[in-house]
């Protein structure tokens, strides 16, 4: 067998193993909507931890982080800071959110908006915006999968073929097993990812330079500016760093799938303890940076930085190990992609289509529609992944700029009595429009600041002003508040 055949066999073996675990997981549960989306709210500390790690450590952390270390340098460090601070932030509002979620039977992020603000239109708008900005995140995972198979096969298997096969497998286990499948495949994914990160993070610098310290000594000598901000970029200096870290750490749990995972926990305290220990999981990320930095010295001039991790692994290790790395990477893409698909589909069916167009739809019909949407979304993301090629980190940042616009509505909803439906609606529309305008007219970064952050500031100001200018509204627990059916 040739090297690439060995690597590909191992990659597909790992993907199949992951899919088998997904199909087996929870096969004894009857899959109604509540089981499919929040697993009956029965996950304890470890499963919630796995689920949250499963959705956060995506192919972005794997190929994208190395890719940015390779092509941008210093600005990549924002990833460490935002993950850490995202958990710090979550410590404060997740338990509260969980509590209102349980009291009101919430399963999704728009459910929160429906109940807090008493408007199905606001909830529907949140569902659509969430749905739209999840697509680049799914696209990111598919692009990653394509890269893995292409590099592992030495360009023998085309990216499109690889992506189509993965989408088919992915849909199969999402459609049959829902959120339980995702949590259990995470076990395989996280153990593989951990082993791989340690081996390549230490191995690549060691094989090529004799150690991590030596590699940095060489790099600091050759390109001292690369290791600082703005690194190899013109615009990503300290203002960009601060605004991006704030945007992404605030937006961390605004992703509809992360928001939804809050409701799978058994108690609010589970979430609080989780927030304390999660930063430790980030320890493997610097190892991935080491690989990207080594690649810059050994194989400079790659057209796309996202290829750097696998290309240098292919150069430094035997073919079977490239297979293990590729397989780990593939599962690291598939687990979050599954969760993203599940969430986007549920948002569409449950919070957009039913309340606004077909209020008489029964739960099992909603579940059926959601499953159809899984296929629709994966095909959409597949289309974008084959027709455009921004870097993995860019895709993630686009998504973050969008979903973080939910933040004022969530935070004020929890802690500020005076906030109103009209205020949140106005702020969010202006926020999303600002993101779209700045991104499409290529004004990101905007005067050195992350465009999503600029939009978030505008959004917050408008939410506050309009809320104060409109009549006060009844809150969560107040008698007389109109109850929107979820």
């Amino acid at each position: 067998m040739s090297g690439s055949a060995i690597a590909l066999t191992i990659i597909f073996g790992i993907i199949l193993l992951g899919s088998a675990i997904g199909l087996y997981a929870g096969s004894s549960y009857k899959m109604d909507l509540e089981q499919w989306t929040v697993a009956g709210r029965g996950f304890g500390l470890i499963l919630v931890w796995l689920l949250q790690a499963g959705e956060i450590y995506t192919t972005f952390a794997f190929l994208g982080a190395a890719g940015w270390a390779y092509s941008r340098g210093g600005p990549t460090f924002y990833i460490l800071a935002y993950l850490m601070l995202g958990y710090v932030f979550s410590f404060f509002f997740l338990p509260q959110l969980w509590e209102v979620g349980r009291k009101h039977g919430m399963q999704t992020e728009p459910d929160f908006f429906a109940r807090r603000y008493g408007s199905k239109y606001l909830a529907g708008f949140v569902a659509v915006v969430g749905f739209i900005f999840i697509i680049p995140y799914v696209q990111l995972q598919l692009t990653g999968l394509g890269i893995i198979v292409t590099v592992a096969s030495s360009e023998g298997v085309s990216r499109t073929t690889a992506m189509i096969i993965s989408v088919a497998l992915l849909d199969a286990f999402v459609l049959t097993r829902g959120v339980r499948a995702v949590a259990w495949v995470s076990v395989l994914k996280d153990s593989l990812m951990l082993i791989v990160a340690v081996v390549i993070g230490i191995g690549v610098p060691y094989i090529n330079f004799g150690g991590i310290g030596n590699m940095f000594a060489v790099l600091a000598q050759a390109m001292p500016r690369h290791l600082m901000m703005p690194g190899a970029t013109q615009t990503m200096g300290h203002a960009w760093y601060i605004s991006t870290v704030l945007l992404t750490s605030l937006g961390f749990y605004m992703w509809p799938h992360s928001f939804g995972s809050i409701f799978t926990a058994k108690s609010g305290n589970t979430l609080r303890r989780n927030a304390v220990i999660m930063p430790l999981y980030t320890i493997t990320l610097p190892l991935i940076f080491f690989v990207g930095f080594s690649a810059l010295l050994v194989i400079p001039g790659l057209s796309n930085g996202d290829l750097s991790l696998l290309t240098i692994v292919r150069k430094s290790f035997p073919a079977w190990f490239l297979g293990v790395v590729g397989g780990a990477g593939a599962i690291t893409a598939m687990v979050p992609a599954a969760l993203l698909l599940l969430t986007a589909a549920t948002l569409f069916a449950k919070n957009f289509y039913r309340p606004l167009f077909a209020p008489s739809l029964a739960d099992h019909q909603v579940a059926k529609l959601a499953k159809m949407m899984v296929v629709v979304i994966s095909v959409l993301a597949l289309y974008f992944a084959t027709h455009s090629s921004p870097t993995l980190v860019q895709l993630l940042l686009i998504g973050y700029a969008g979903v973080t616009q939910f933040f004022p509505g969530v935070l004020f909803g929890l802690y500020w009595k005076r906030v109103t439906n009209t205020g949140v609606f106005a702020g969010m529309i202006v926020g999303v429009a600002t993101v779209a305008f700045l991104a499409l007219s290529k004004r990101d970064p905007f005067y050195g600041l992350n465009a999503g952050f600029v939009a978030l500031c505008v959004n917050t100001a408008i939410t506050m002003l309009v809320s104060l200018a409109t009549n006060a509204q009844l809150g969560f627990e107040e008698p007389g508040q109109e109850i929107i059916p979820l």
Partner: protein, 76 residues
């Protein structure tokens, strides 16, 4: 809705200041520590320090929660 305690918020401000707002103070390559550029070393140290601090914040929150339950049924 129960608001988080001020003590816990103050503790949480420490990592925010250390890894975000103060970037221009530590974004440098030298002195290298343990073979790492200084900025990377700084961030990695905070990966360890943040959970320690937040564990302290957790103790505070839990203590506050049980204290207020003792007083008046846990509301506000």
């Amino acid at each position: 809705m129960k608001k988080p305690s001020w003590g816990a918020i103050l503790i949480a401000l420490i990592p925010f200041t250390a890894v975000c707002f103060s970037v221009s103070l530590w974004d440098r390559v030298y002195p290298m520590v343990l073979g790492l550029p200084f900025n990377l070393f700084w961030l990695i140290s905070w990966l360890w320090l943040t959970p320690l601090l937040m564990w302290g914040a957790y103790r505070l929150e839990v203590r506050d929660a049980s204290a207020s339950r003792g007083k008046k049924g846990g509301s506000h």
